[in-house]
């Protein structure tokens, strides 16, 4: 009984987190964001957004309540929110329920003076040709970070900006042999699903979904279990943010989201270096994470909302967001030369990773709507069952593939990069069912 009450209370509390905008202002422009939910981040983001003009409200909210809010506004016809900022994965739900304006004209207008990353513009169309659901806002990714102490154990002849996963395993083993401690760290209680989806699977199989239970995927899991995991700090199972174990010296080499590594680079830029994720037999899988800005059609002031988006896409604001919030620009005109030391290190690694010749950009899952979180659980389960519980690799891959295929069929999601485009629901090549 109490559990249920607690759930309802939690839902209520979540709704309460959506701070109602101040009524005293004269019809302010309201920017609702699912990003920067941490208090200090929200403060910094608010300062940046409010520099646009005095009448701007910056409101942060969790994804679920934000979607509910826009839904409720559409039903009542009374809209307060003017601009919605969220990760790509939030927009399919909004698009599916037809809650957003088409921003094709605004985008063309912005592109007249700025060079926006084409792949992200394409993503913002959600698979359509003539409906721009969002304008790309900012991007992030996951990279590696290392303590300078670790560099002496780097395998001979290895280029840190073009490592392979085999070299990474050798490196981890060398650190273990020299110090007696497992010095590599993975965020198993954090973004381990991104590690599997965007890095391991693409690097070994070339795809995220279609090769899910292929022999290459089995090879990848065997590598992870036998060659890498023995030299990964066992306490990784409780790591959610890698900056803490990096700063404490518990681990020397770590993989995580740039924003989650940022505090380490801010506090001790002289101790750490950032570098691209290693490559596997198929290439260097990496995951760009893109956030976009949309306009709910219940907005009271389209022109003001469009102006705010133009402002957010200006080079100065994009540079401020990078420096203070750790999200990277989506336009080409940003000057990164004047960044603080730590941010510059990270920016260089992000640039090297996305520019790598063997790079396989792997997008966040597209088109799963409200069930977008479920696919992550499939990758987490795969990792847990094979690496931690020691279950048979092919058995795990086949049973999880079956669930993955069911999810794709039920949501009708077609394949997304790096898997080749599909007609209808994405199909696992080696027979998911």
């Amino acid at each position: 009984m109490n559990t249920k009450i607690r759930l309802s209370l939690m839902a209520l509390a979540a709704m309460a987190l959506v701070v109602p905008p101040a009524l005293s202002q004269e019809d302010p422009v309201t920017f609702i964001s699912t990003q920067f939910n941490v208090v200090e981040e929200a403060e910094r983001a608010r300062a940046i957004v409010q520099a646009f003009g005095s009448g701007v409200e910056f409101v942060v909210s969790e994804e679920g309540p934000a979607i509910d809010l826009l839904r409720a506004e559409a039903q009542s016809g009374q809209g307060v929110q003017d601009v919605m900022g969220a990760l790509h994965g939030t927009f399919p739900t909004l698009a599916g329920e037809d809650l957003l304006f088409d921003l094709t004209d605004l985008l063309a207008d912005i592109e007249a003076s700025a060079d926006i990353n084409d792949a992200y513009v394409e993503l913002g169309r959600m698979g359509t040709e003539d409906f721009q659901y969002y304008v790309p806002w900012m991007q992030a990714t996951l990279t590696m970070a290392a303590n300078n102490e670790a560099l002496q154990y780097l395998p001979e002849g290895a280029d840190i900006n073009a490592l392979t996963w085999d070299q990474m395993a050798e490196w981890a083993q060398a650190m273990f042999d020299a110090t007696g401690e497992a010095k590599m760290g993975l965020p198993v209680a954090g973004l381990i699903h991104r590690f599997m989806q965007g890095y391991m699977f693409p690097s070994f199989t070339g795809g995220m979904v279609t090769q899910f239970n292929s022999p290459e995927a089995a090879e990848m899991l065997a590598f992870l279990r036998d060659d890498l995991w023995p030299y990964v700090n066992p306490q990784s199972i409780s790591y959610a943010f890698m900056n803490e174990p990096l700063l404490s010296g518990e681990v020397w080499v770590a993989f995580d989201h740039v924003a989650r590594l940022k505090p380490a680079f801010d506090q001790a830029p002289e101790d750490f270096i950032a570098f691209p994720a290693p490559a596997g037999p198929a290439g260097r899988g990496f995951m760009p994470i893109v956030a976009g800005l949309g306009i709910p059609y219940t907005t009271g002031d389209v022109a003001a909302a469009e102006d705010l988006i133009r402002y957010m896409l200006s080079p100065e604001v994009q540079a401020q967001v990078l420096e203070q919030l750790g999200f990277y620009p989506v336009i080409g005109e940003v000057d990164v030369a004047s960044l603080p030391a730590g941010a510059a290190l990270q920016a260089a690694a992000v640039a090297a990773q996305s520019a790598s010749e063997d790079g396989i950009p792997s997008l966040l899952p597209v088109g799963l709507g409200a069930r977008g979180g479920e696919i992550n659980e499939i990758y987490i389960n795969t990792f847990t069952r094979v690496i931690i519980d020691g279950e048979d690799i092919q058995t795990v891959l086949d049973s999880e593939a079956e669930r993955l295929q069911a999810l794709l069929n039920e949501t009708g999601a077609s394949c997304w990069a790096p898997d080749p485009a599909s007609e209808g629901p994405c199909q696992i090549a080696t027979g998911g069912m």
Partner: protein
Amino acid sequence: MRRAKWTPYLLLVPSLFYLALFFLYPMTQAFGLAFSRETQTLSLRAEPVESAATTGALELQTEVVVLDRQQLDETLPNGGTRPSFWYLIQGTDLAGETVEGWASQRSIFIENRRTSETARVTGGEATREWTFEHVNRMLTDFRFSSAISTTLLLMVLIIPAQFVLAIIMALVLQSQVRGSSMFLYIYAIPLGISDLVAGILWFAIFTQRGFLNSLMVSAGLIDLPFIFIRAENISWMISIIVLAEIWRATSIVMIIVVSGLQAIPKDYLEAGEVFGASMWQRLRHIILPLLKPSLQVALILRTILAFQVFAVVIAITGGDILTVLSNETFRWYDPARFNNPSVAAVYAGFIMIVSLAISLFYMRAVRSQDEATKSAT
């Protein structure tokens, strides 16, 4: 007379109202979530308006051919307009018949609103039907059995230890030795600390660079920090959780036991002393039997709380490798994870049924003995 007859019921009304609002209503909601499923079908219209007669229905994900389209100007709540499209589509329904009719852009996915000739059904009217699908998903989830066994294991390890400790602590307080009232404050400290904070505190003690390892390394007992929190040996994690839970929640049992002790008439204990009963005999034959009603309350409370253990487990283990029932409930509920309140409701119902069954068992088991001792005295 009439009035007196109704008074008890009137007095019950506030609590009944409370129960109905905060227990019955959420419970029926959860029951509905747990055993029903929403399916959507798209009703096709004879004309491009929502109110027109239906000409057929299509399932979600049906591929359709676009025969015709119409662009309307939809008036927005703020007075502006935007283009809104209706499509005349043709597809095969569940019965295998080809149906044709109008649908709005809200219900279909179309690559290009102005030129595409095919589309896919993505929305429609929701209908609910009864299903055991969510129960099946819970039962077939690979974490389900480990969540049960871990929860029960924690319960079996924590509760007996807590009761022994709580009775000893209560007797210390009751003994009136010098400074015993100070113990009350010391014992009560963990009561003021939230379970998440308690978990983080114990994590800070046992983590690789935590207090314990730093102490042992600096004392020269070990060369390298020992890693307690590791998947290869979960008994360490279980031990840390048990320690944290005992530290955190024993005092609540103690408070119940203290109040029970104070309700025991001094005469019985004095009579026991007169007849030469030792301290142990008085505990065994006078205090414990008379404490049974309080112990029953504490036992039920602790058992229900044991099924809700959550934050301590999350803080110490991360929640993925070692999991408990309430953590699974949250994993399914969390919008960032499964986002499936239905399976979460099944878990919640499961926890409720198990706690209810155990509480009933306690009430029967402890009451019968209690009554037996009453009739004996």
